[in-house]
Structures are given as structure tokens and as C-alpha cells.
Symmetry: C2
Subunit: 125 residues, 2 copies
DNA sequence: GTAACTGCAAAATATTTGCATCCTT
DNA sequence: AAGGATGCAAATATTTTGCAGTTAC
């Protein structure tokens, strides 16, 4: 555990995540910061951010891990479980803004933390 | 491409998938058939089955690939996009029987092929 | 000063692929 | 006979880990 230090690397990764409208993959960040930030460091920063509920993660269609900023999460409650849609052709992930969707979908049998829909987007159709 | 041959291995893998109420991971099958069927063969059989719409696949919380039998799919149309729920603690996947859920969730902006919800199941809560 | 962060190399893990051989039709 | 299936080993690719050295508070 421990406190997160706001290092230069931390800030750089955070900046990308805040700038992005949709989710980004860990792999994208590794490539993007190639020769600037070591990949281990990136994975560790992402882990920390998720622990601190600054971002949340999910696994995409191809098994890659994706991250997106949490809009309205607190340390106590992580309620940013808005669904994501990923196109299996272009692999792009889009956030779907919709409220109460998860519970609407399956009632309250489970504590739902993330929802991922996959398929084909209108651009690739 | 080519025609699927109903070999002994093919039948054995199919039997497991049909017997199962919920989805199983490729990894489970590899372990289950250890010393009986080579892992490459299992992956290839699963690929073929998916091509032929006998089963459908999705990627779980930990990036592992999961497979489940298709209940009402034809070669022409693959409409078995019932949602799956995976517990991030016990990793178990449950099929959620619900109709029209995917389209209800996001309208008709995308062609939705699979829906995965993750979180914590009532047993692990 | 101490705990957290970083880079590097190596490990772990799941899946894929090349190739030679075997089997099914 | 021919095209598909199989086993084996090696390759891929992503993520994790151990460790030594550095940095932030």
C-alpha cells in the first residue's frame, strides 16, 4: 500500500488518461511512453491509480487491459461502472453513458463493477 | 477453413461444453485434458467450434478466454449474446438468461455480440 | 531518513505457429 | 490419395517480479 507520490511519470500518465475521451489500453501507454517511461513503471502506476480509485480497468476483447478515468468515484465508493463497448474489428473502446444500466440488466443478484459489450461499431459495420 | 471432422478429441471437448451449465475457460480444458489432448489441439478445436458457431467466446476478468455453448444459433445468425457475469474473486462465470438486454442497454448504436459483467457474486460478497 | 518510485532483466502465463506425422473420409 | 487433425517444441505477447539504485516528502 502506501501513499501515492505525484511524480513526473505519474503526472504524465494521468494527463493522457484525463485527456482521453474514452478508455486506453495499458499497451498503448507502454508504446506511447516508449524510451521515456519503463513499461514496468507504467503497469505499476496504473495499478496504484486503480487502487486509489482514480481510474478503473477492464479487460478487452483481445485480453488486453484497458483503463479509463473514474468520473464520480470516491475512495469509499466506486460507482463508476458505466458500460464500455469495444469493437472487435477496430478494437476501439467507447464509454457508454447510461445510468443504472447494470442493475437494470440483471436485477441485484450481484455487485456489478464493470460492464463490457463487444461487437461491431457503426464505422466498421 | 475446411470441414470439421468429428474426431474423438472433438467429441470429448464438446461433451464437456455441453455438460456444463455455465462457461468454461480454455485454460480449464487444457488442464482437464492434460496428458490426453495436447493444448494446441484444444485451442484449435475451440477455434473451429467457434467458427462453426457451435460455441461462442469472450474474454474474462483476468484476460483468459472463456467458451460457452450456443443455445439457439444458426450458421447464418449468431444471436446467442446472452450476458455473462464473472466474479472477480472466485472467477466463476455464470450465464444470465435475459432477453433483449443488450439492445435495451445501449439502443441500437452497435451490433452487440457479447456482454460481460464483472463484480462480486453473492457467494463471495 | 525512510518509504515510495524507477529501470533493467528475467520470469510467468496464455495463446499461437511451424512442421512432421497420423488419421479420416 | 488428400485434406484435415494432432503432438511437440519453439515463438509471441502481455504482464509481473526481484533487485539494486534513485527520488520525493
Amino acid at each position: 500500500m502506501g501513499i501515492i507520490r505525484k511524480t513526473k511519470h505519474f503526472q504524465k500518465v494521468l494527463d493522457i488518461l484525463l485527456k482521453q475521451e474514452n478508455a486506453v489500453s495499458a499497451n498503448y501507454l507502454v508504446t506511447h511512453f516508449n524510451d521515456e517511461i519503463n513499461k514496468s513503471t507504467i503497469y505499476r502506476i496504473l495499478d496504484k491509480m486503480e487502487d486509489d480509485r482514480i481510474i478503473h480497468s477492464f479487460v478487452g476483447v483481445n485480453g488486453l487491459k484497458w483503463y479509463a478515468k473514474c468520473v464520480k468515484c470516491t475512495v469509499k465508493e466506486h460507482h463508476d461502472n458505466h458500460p464500455h463497448f469495444q469493437c472487435e474489428k477496430c478494437n476501439e473502446v467507447q464509454c457508454i453513458n447510461h445510468t443504472n444500466n447494470a442493475t437494470k440488466l440483471i436485477g441485484s443478484q450481484f455487485l456489478v463493477k464493470s460492464v463490457l459489450l463487444t461487437g461491431i461499431c457503426n464505422r466498421c459495420f
